[in-house]
């Protein structure tokens, strides 16, 4: 790890002042479960590290008129322990529980989970965010069992956040603070595809901080997350699906279906969403929705199985949601 300057500001404003407008100069430190690993591998070599855990306004979970407000430095453990999250947002609860080690849930934060960098082994091995050598993505002819089945332009890594699909399905917004004030975007819009091998996969500027997430009320919205995971302990899901369904009587009024770990950004399965409208949530309908969700998938040599996993994840998430009250 390269030597760095360390700061622990107590306000968002102060923290923003310490950031740089250039990526690579300074890094925000929340729980550190991802950042420290990146620094040890010299993937990140910040000159300055800014701890935001001392900033009170970034913590806490509270019910507001706009919905549930979750501070960026709320830990995954706090999130899973929260009563409102457990009862009203089972999909979010399930997604957070899927970060499958108590140690990581104790340290890792909601902001950090959304802003964590991809786990692609070519990126982590020092080949850049697009995992390229001589302008070519190594995943294409290489080992791509965990890579994208919905690649975008030259990006074959998968977005690693388990919370993102659930938050997107629930229609959550992200609040962002920067030198020119605050802005708010749908969580979906946090994620972009970098145009080059040293680019970034978040729409945040280098001197912006994700301050909070607001999840609109999910009363009456059936929601669930289904993860396909190879093992229970300390592992990433292979594919996840988060769904949020508004019902009208016994049929679907509108549906949100979002896939995780299948593309460089969470993938909104629009076709499945449209297909579900007006249907009741039967086994057959859920199976159909699973199939629609993977239309257009472009698997590579070693990850075609993820297409099947995505189908099943959507089906099972829908059937799980159908069981829920609301």
């Amino acid at each position: 790890m390269q030597a760095f300057e360390y700061a622990s500001p107590t306000s968002v404003k102060e923290a923003i002042g310490m950031l740089s407008s250039q990526w690579g100069e300074a890094d925000i430190l929340a729980g550190g479960t991802d950042l420290l690993a990146l620094m040890k591998e010299y993937i990140h070599t910040p000159k300055r590290v800014i701890n935001i855990k001392g900033i009170k306004e970034l913590g806490g979970i509270a019910k507001t008129a706009a919905g549930l407000r979750i501070g960026a430095t709320v830990t995954l453990d706090e999130l899973t322990e929260n009563a409102a999250v457990r009862t009203e947002y089972p999909s979010l609860h399930q997604a957070a529980m899927g970060v499958s080690s108590p140690q990581i849930r104790n340290m890792g934060t909601v902001g950090g989970d959304l802003c964590q960098r991809p786990r692609c082994w070519y990126f982590r091995g020092g080949h850049g965010i697009l995992g390229q050598e001589n302008g070519k993505s190594l995943a294409v002819d290489g080992e791509n069992r965990y890579h994208a089945i919905f690649p975008k332009s030259q990006a074959y890594y998968v977005n690693a956040s388990s919370l993102a699909p659930a938050l997107i399905a629930l229609g959550a917004k992200a609040k962002i603070a920067g030198p020119n004030g605050n802005r708010e975007v749908p969580v979906e819009q946090l994620f972009v595809v970098p145009s080059n091998n040293s680019g970034r996969e978040l729409s945040l500027a280098a001197n912006e901080i994700l301050t909070e997430i607001v999840v609109p009320s999910a009363r009456g919205v059936k929601n669930a997350t289904y993860e396909v995971r190879q093992k229970e302990a300390l592992d990433w899901p292979l594919v996840t699906a988060s769904v949020a369904i508004k019902m009208k009587g016994s049929s679907v009024a509108s549906a949100r279906v979002v896939l995780g770990h299948v593309g460089p950004t969470p993938v909104v399965a629009t076709e499945a969403e449209q297909m579900l409208a007006g249907k009741s949530l039967t086994q057959d309908v859920a199976t159909e929705a699973g199939k629609s969700a993977v239309n257009g998938a472009q698997p590579m040599s070693g990850n075609a199985y993820k297409v099947q996993l995505a189908r099943v994840a959507v089906k099972r998430a829908l059937l799980e949601a159908a069981k829920a009250r609301g």
Binding site: A3, R119, E133, G142, K231, A233
Partner: protein, 714 residues
């Protein structure tokens, strides 16, 4: 010669007790200090520069900037200009500095120019390895061509098991201090008595100049016997830094890349049998790698070795990966998987129960263990509810989750190694047992105390065991499951010798002769006459100021019936497979194992349970993933080099075969055999559940789904 033989099973007091290991509390509370925890005054840290390429030549290397970097005390070049590097992470240079960050920063200042050379890092498809495959020559027995023609059923299959790494939680390394003509050496080793000599050879000092100490080791599994490049260089860095201690422990990636691996094994296997299940022919073409030396042929056909007609071809494939090291039962898990999978496939084709097929062919196994296998199959079947749960291939139940059972077998030697023990009986009644051996976490300290207590008629906690220092009487390294036989025998002999001396001392005061005395229940008494006795303490007081100090040796060529070799074991796995996702879950693992006289059944059971967990990891998760484009290992970490956690293991049922006729054979090693059959059992259980063979291990969702898909499209 005194009578050293083990007391009969029925009269034993300390041996056979289900005691918890002596260092359990110390370890689970973190009080136990491993050598990687050491922090000596003035200690320097070191960091290695290793090859980023799988194959390259060092054109030039310039360490001048590193030498001038802050905190640096010494830099050594391991691979000078001209050196051909044959695998990623091969050592190139090493730096000692006041702190670890300083050492790492300095390493990054070393300028090196590589000529990158072509590499081969993958071997599962042998048609793609070119001239890297070296055929070993055909082994022919009987007339396989004729036998295949006579067979009623012939089955052909291909199977593979990849390279694994040892993944020791305490990585390889040491603290070492070379001061004047003495070296203090604190390695992480399976070889306390021998490793000093190995280091001495490499730094041209007499072996007696090296003082080795280690209380605990965080895993070795066969990979920690030598002083290694980093040990030798550590010593030289210490000398070059004015004799300050230098610490080197490999980081995780280097540990997984170069500190040893278990070679792969791939094979195409054809078997022929008669309708009644009698196997008459075997043909295999196999290949394996464990680095540039390739990989040897696993001992196939495993256990049922003497199939009358066999043709075996094997190629060792040289790949640019870190070199292999012994891994808990070298080549046996591979052999067991290849053989048991092929037998299971054959049984499915015959429409027979695979256990029936094994039993039918058991005369192909070495004579002395046949009966054990038959007994163990029965016992394991009973514990796994085989007759109720086993079914023909393919769980016909509805729903996506299919359940299946599968069986695997093991064999091993496990004779005791050369070991010397010193037993001291002190005037204050205390007892010290000293051996230059090591406790790998297997409970060696505890079983030594039990053996000594048994001989001396004392409670186990009255015995103090000292291990882990090469100043103590030498024992061999702990490999090949040889430790328990070696140290229990040497301890038995030493304590019998010491007790005889004590008998001589106290006989006059009991008006008798030494040969009439016995030690039982904390007393020395006239045999069968408790009225004529002295308490242990009173007896020891008769020693005056002189302790008794007696040695005992296990001589592997003549172990006096105290230890022997040759064990059998059977494992049955019970799994559930989700055929929509390919995810395999363990329900249960049953292991039935013999190992002769069992000194401590609880510790034996936990050895076996640990071995089952290793098998579950190996069957379902572990795999070193190589990238042919970059030549690199893609998962040298604990994230994508996957290991099981508690929730992934399911229930483990261990049954130690403690029957008296086995007990009479003496002590036999246990570390390795139970790691052998598990992968085979799990792979067969998956085939039984889903109705199709998943040929390549580990049984990950992608492979399970692919096998199902291929069957669908067939």
């Amino acid at each position: 010669m005194p009578n050293y033989s083990w007391p009969p099973m029925s009269t034993r007091k300390a041996i056979g007790q289900r005691l918890s290991r002596h260092d359990g509390i110390e370890k689970s509370t973190g009080r136990a200090k491993y050598n990687s925890d050491l922090n000596k005054p003035g200690m320097l840290q070191s960091a290695l520069l290793t090859s980023p390429y799988a194959h390259a030549r060092v054109r030039s290397i310039d360490v001048s900037a590193a030498e001038k970097a802050p905190g640096v005390t010494a830099v050594r070049v391991i691979a000078p200009a001209g050196t051909e590097l044959q695998w990623q992470s091969q050592e190139i240079a090493v730096v000692a500095a006041a702190t670890e960050p300083q050492a790492r920063d300095a390493v990054r200042l070393i300028k090196i120019d590589y000529e990158v050379l072509p590499h081969v890092v993958r071997e599962e498809d042998i048609s793609k390895v070119g001239n890297r495959a070296k055929p070993a020559g055909e082994q022919l027995t009987g007339d396989p061509d004729k036998a295949f023609k006579e067979a009623d059923v012939v089955n052909e299959g291909h199977y593979g098991i990849p390279v694994l790494t040892h993944c020791c939680l305490e990585s390889h390394g040491q603290v070492v201090q070379w001061n004047g003509d003495q070296v203090n050496y604190w390695p992480s080793t399976q070889n306390v008595s021998g490793i000093g000599g190995d280091l001495a050879k490499n730094i041209e000092l007499p072996a007696t100049a090296i003082k080795v100490h280690q209380d605990h080791i965080g895993g070795g599994f066969g990979s920690k016997f030598g002083s290694d490049r980093w040990g030798v260089e550590g010593a030289k860095l210490s000398k070059a830094s004015g004799g300050r201690p230098v610490k080197t422990f490999l980081d995780r990636a280097t540990e997984l890349n170069i500190a040893g691996n278990r070679p792969s094994a791939y094979a195409k296997i054809k078997m022929g049998a008669k309708k009644d299940g009698t196997i008459i022919a075997w043909e295999s073409t196999s290949w394996a790698t464990g680095g540039m030396g390739g990989g040897a042929m696993p001992p196939i056909p495993y256990v049922i070795t003497n199939i009358p007609n066999r043709r075996l071809n094997h190629s060792a494939v040289a790949t640019n990966g870190g070199p292999l090291r012994a891994w808990r039962a070298p080549n046996h898990p591979q052999a067991s998987f290849l053989t048991c999978a092929a037998v299971e496939d054959l049984a499915a084709k015959l429409g027979m129960d695979p256990i029936e097929v094994f039993v039918k062919n058991i005369e192909y196994a070495p004579e002395p263990r046949r009966e054990s296998y038959i007994y163990q199959f029965k016992k394991a079947a009973e514990l796994s509810e085989w007759s109720k749960r086993w079914h023909r291939r393919g769980d016909s139940g509805s729903g996506p989750v299919k359940r299946g059972l599968g069986v695997g077998i093991c064999s091993w030697g496990g004779a005791g190694h050369a070991s010397t023990c010193n037993a001291k009986i002190n005037p204050d009644g205390s007892v010290d047992i000293e051996l230059g051996s090591q406790d790998l976490g297997t409970g060696t300290r505890t079983i030594i105390a039990q053996v000594a207590a048994e001989t001396l008629g004392l409670p186990v906690n009255a015995v103090k065991v000292k291990l882990g220092d090469n100043a103590l009487p030498p024992s061999n390294g702990s490999g090949g499951s040889t430790t328990v036989g070696g140290v229990s025998s040497s301890t038995r002999i030493a304590t019998v010798n010491a007790l005889d001396k004590l008998f001589e001392k106290v006989a006059p005061s009991l008006n008798t002769t030494a040969d009439k005395l016995e030690a039982v229940g904390g007393k020395i008494q006239v045999k069968g006459d408790p009225a004529k006795s002295l308490t242990w303490a009173a007896a020891c007081r008769k020693l005056g100021t002189q302790s008794i100090s007696e040695q005992g040796q296990n001589n592997p060529r003549n172990p006096l019936g105290l230890n022997t070799q040759g064990v059998a074991g059977v494992q049955i796995a019970d799994v559930s497979v989700d055929v929509e996702t390919g995810v395999v879950k363990m329900n249960r693992m049953v292991a039935v194992q013999d190992c002769g006289l069992v000194v401590n059944p609880k510790l034996a059971e936990s050895q076996v349970a640990g071995a089952c967990i290793m098998s579950i990891c190996g069957a379902l998760m572990e795999e070193r993933v190589m990238d042919q484009q970059t030549g690199r290992v893609l998962n040298p970490d604990m994230e994508f080099y996957k290991l099981a956690g508690a929730a992934d293991i399911g229930e483990i049922i261990v049954h130690m075969d403690l029957r008296e006729e086995l007990d009479k054979r003496g002590v036999i090693g246990l570390g390795e055999p139970p790691t052998v059959g598990g992968v085979a059992a799990i792979a067969n259980a998956v085939a039984n559940a889903i109705g199709v063979r998943v040929p390549i291990i580990p049984l990950t969702p992608d492979r399970v789904l692919r096998a199902l898909e291929e069957r669908r499209s067939a």
